[in-house]
């Protein structure tokens, strides 16, 4: 799916002013900022120590001492969710970084060169797309050993073609514009034009895709951890918490409910944020106002 977009005719201040009038963006921004703040807070403070197991306190229900209850090792679930947030964010962020870092130059390069190189790169993209991402991530982590690093790589690899596609489509939409011709007439080379004109103009597009992939990354990390191939203990992870919860649904349903909500809220926030950005950039929605 390629996003249709147009270049915003405003500067940053104008965009920001518009952004904070957009309900989606605002809600997404607040949620995402909150999750990020909680993750950062977990570095300096959590209600309880998540590395300390107190078996005697296992599967206690929500109470003033443990707002979200405790898990099967007596750890405070709220604290686990807080620390898990930074794990989820880190995995998804680095995976998006890999996807962008490799995919965007590839896509931009394909758009510049065209012809056989473009064709080859796009066919390579097709190849990666032919592998169901989750299946392949499971294969990769199963082969090279479970763990956060391998999960990042597995998720990241499948972000590459996504960003390559978006960057290429965006760049192809920019290249025929007259201001590119003007830059060429001014004697600028294709590399320079890509850096000065093309990339800055598709940045917002990449940002939208970035939030989508970020959200998908969080879901993928949770899925991998859920089948035991993602983040490994003792590092808390939301997917892992759900894995531990599923055999204890009767005696400790809070073990499943709260981490599940954490995932839903975070992904929701990121998607709203992405929607908001896309809305702001969509000339049609602007025309309506």
């Amino acid at each position: 799916m390629t996003l249709r977009f147009d270049l915003p005719e405003e500067n940053l201040a104008g965009i920001l002013a518009k952004a904070f009038r957009n309900r989606s963006f605002l809600a997404g921004f607040v949620i995402t900022a909150l999750v990020a703040a909680v993750a950062l807070l977990s570095y300096v403070w959590t209600p309880d120590d998540v590395t300390k197991l107190v078996i005697a306190d296992k599967t206690l229900g929500p109470s003033p001492a443990n707002w979200f209850g405790t898990d099967h090792f007596g750890r405070d679930i709220l604290s686990m969710i807080m620390v898990g947030a930074r794990n989820s964010i880190a995995v998804a962020l680095v995976a998006v970084g890999i996807g962008m870092g490799i995919g965007v130059p590839l896509g931009a390069f394909a758009a510049v060169r065209g012809g056989l190189i473009d064709e080859a790169l796009m066919r390579l993209n097709d190849l990666v797309f032919a592998f169901p991402a989750l299946l392949s991530a499971i294969m990769i982590t199963a082969i090279f050993g479970p763990g956060a690093i391998n999960a990042i790589i597995a998720i990241g690899i499948f972000n590459i073609p996504v960003f390559a596609r978006v960057a290429r489509a965006g760049a192809l939409a920019i290249w025929p514009r007259e201001f590119i011709l003007a830059a060429r007439a001014a004697g600028k080379g294709k590399m320079l034009i890509t850096l000065e004109h093309v990339l800055p103009n598709i940045v917002t597009l990449l940002l939208v895709q970035g939030t989508i992939q970020f959200a998908l990354g969080i879901l993928a990390e949770a899925g991998l951890s859920y089948v035991g191939l993602g983040t490994q203990p003792p590092m808390p992870s939301w997917g892992r918490m759900l894995f531990d919860a599923q055999t204890r649904m009767v005696v400790a349903p809070w073990m499943a409910i709260f981490p599940g909500m954490a995932i839903v809220i975070t992904v929701l926030g990121l998607n709203l944020l992405g929607d908001g950005i896309a809305d702001i950039l969509d000339p049609r929605s602007r025309r309506q106002r």
Binding site: T51, K52, L53, I55, A56, K58, T59, H72, F73, A142, G145, P146, G147, G228, Q232, P233, P234, F243, Q246, T247, R248, M249, V250, V251
Partner: protein
């Protein structure tokens, strides 16, 4: 219109089947964790084969009862010659295979000869190694001559690998097992379930169940809802960690039995710093067995101090040797020159005792300064990396074979443990038949292992069965891996 009729009819049918549950039930769904690779107990080692077929579809000359005793089965009675070398089995008459053919002494000779033949694919050929010859005396009498006396011969004949099969069907048993048991095979939905139905021409006491379905429920996450929703009515081998879900629920009966599984924190004894006795002892002091049992096994399971089941008659209680003592552990590490602690890896195979126990142990060892990186591995990798290549620091595994203390004397075993004194005791043990002497030797062996802190001895793995409270007659212990349904019935 027509579609609606179909849907209504289907709904009515669904209701009807649901309603029939209120009448006295004669069907049972049993959950088993692994799917058998095939259905011929005489051609494979997988426990899952016996779990489905043993005593239900196939029968042997003898059988093993739920407390490990030898009982007559197809052999009504037997005599043993004075020198203990000749066994004459008197067979039941009127026994028929499920395909309608008669069972007689020829089938016994065929089965035993087939199992001990050179080209036999029997997984336990050792059971038959002592047999010299098998002779048919008459259609209901078989004479088995041994090369030398063997006290366990009748027990051996009770194994699933020694069941009697018919020559006509022996080749196809893998897909369509034909035996003499009270149940006959009906269907196998691969990856899903195996269904047995009551055999009408059974020679012995008829069973109460009409139908028994063995459903493959691979993990605890699936087993819990399957049990709670009533889809599956019995899990003879339930994950101990999940037992709390059924405990206290009057609909279910939770039965805790014993196994021969010593659960240990295995240590690579040759790999520094684990080659230092103080380090291994420090680990043993750092372990809080109660917390481990509570956290990884729902509080079930008996702590052990060496490699011997507490149920064993030769068991010596050594659990007091290394009480949970963090200070002592730290002191020992200091003695070993590791007062600042060290880093190591802990490889964990899939079972929950290992994965959960590993997290707890990692936390406990962290308290004394040992920082463990947890590496979960699949069994394949575990066998490859840990067991074969000995590429590991620590691992958790349950050794379920009975009377297997001798593994510590094996050269090149994955513990990398080498103690001539211990080897000597085991060698002596092998030559000793005197019970008292054996007990002393085994006691010494246990003591040495504990003193050397070869591994971290944790606890004896419990056998947890959970089933519908109205269900009677399932085995509570598991001397062998089997689900004998012959006495199982529903009560109201």
């Amino acid at each position: 219109m027509k579609l609606w009729k179909t849907i209504l009819a289907a709904a009515a049918l669904a209701l009807a089947t649901g309603a029939s549950a209120f009448a006295a039930r004669t069907d049972l769904v049993i959950g088993i964790p692994l799917e058998p690779p095939h259905l011929d107990p005489t051609a494979g080692a997988a426990a899952a084969i016996d779990e489905v077929l043993y005593a239900n579809v196939f029968e042997g000359l003898t059988r093993i009862g739920q407390n490990g005793e030898v009982l007559p089965d197809l052999a009504e009675s037997w005599t043993i010659s004075d020198d203990g070398k000749v066994y004459v089995f008197k067979l039941h008459t009127g026994v028929k295979f499920h395909d309608g053919t008669d069972f007689n002494a020829d089938d016994v000779k065929f089965s035993l000869d087939r199992a001990r033949a050179d080209n036999s694919v029997n997984a336990q050929k050792g059971l038959f190694a002592a047999i010299d010859k098998v002779e048919v005396v008459d259609s209901a009498t078989v004479k088995v001559t041994l090369k030398n006396p063997q006290g366990s011969f009748l027990y051996n004949m009770g194994w699933g690998d020694a069941v009697i099969v018919a020559p006509e069907t022996a080749g196809t048993n893998k897909e369509k097992p034909i035996g003499t048991g009270p149940f006959k095979f009906q269907s196998w939905a691969k990856g899903s379930s195996i269904t047995l139905v009551k055999s009408d021409n059974y020679w012995g006491t008829p069973v109460s169940l009409d139908k028994a379905e063995f459903r493959i429920v691979p993990d605890a996450a699936a087993a819990v809802p399957a049990l709670l929703s009533g889809d599956v009515q019995a899990f003879p081998f339930f994950d101990p960690d999940s037992v709390a879900q059924a405990q206290g629920d009057p609909r279910f009966k939770v039965v805790i039995g014993a196994t021969e599984g010593e659960t240990i924190l295995a240590i690579n004894n040759k790999k520094p710093p684990f080659d230092k006795l103080q380090v291994r002892q420090a680990i043993s002091f750092a372990l809080d067995r109660k917390a481990i049992i509570d956290g990884a096994s729902a509080g079930l399971g008996v702590p052990i101090g060496s490699h011997m089941s507490p149920a064993n008659k030769d068991y010596v209680d050594l659990t007091g040797l290394y009480p949970h003592n963090v200070d002592k552990a730290k002191e020992l590490l200091k003695e070993a020159g590791l007062e600042n602690g060290f880093k190591a890896t802990l490889k964990l195979p899939p079972p929950s005792y290992a994965r959960l126990g590993g997290e707890i142990i990692a936390s406990q060892l962290r308290d004394v300064g040992i920082d463990l990186e947890i590496i979960p591995v699949e069994w394949a990798q575990w066998l490859d990396q840990v067991f074969t290549k000995k590429d590991y620091d620590l691992t958790i595994v349950s050794h379920t074979e009975p009377n297997d203390i001798d593994i510590y004397s094996r050269k090149d075993y994955y513990f990398n443990y080498d103690n001539p004194a211990f080897d000597k005791i085991i060698a002596e043990l092998n030559l000793t038949s005197d019970e008292a002497k054996r007990k002393t030797l085994l006691g010494e062996a246990q003591k040495i292992l504990a003193d050397d802190a070869v591994v971290g001895f944790l606890y004896e793995l419990p056998k947890v069965g959970v089933w519908d409270a109205k269900l009677q007659g399932l085995w509570e212990n598991a001397p062998i891996q089997a689900n004998d349904l012959t006495k199982v019935k529903w009560t109201d």
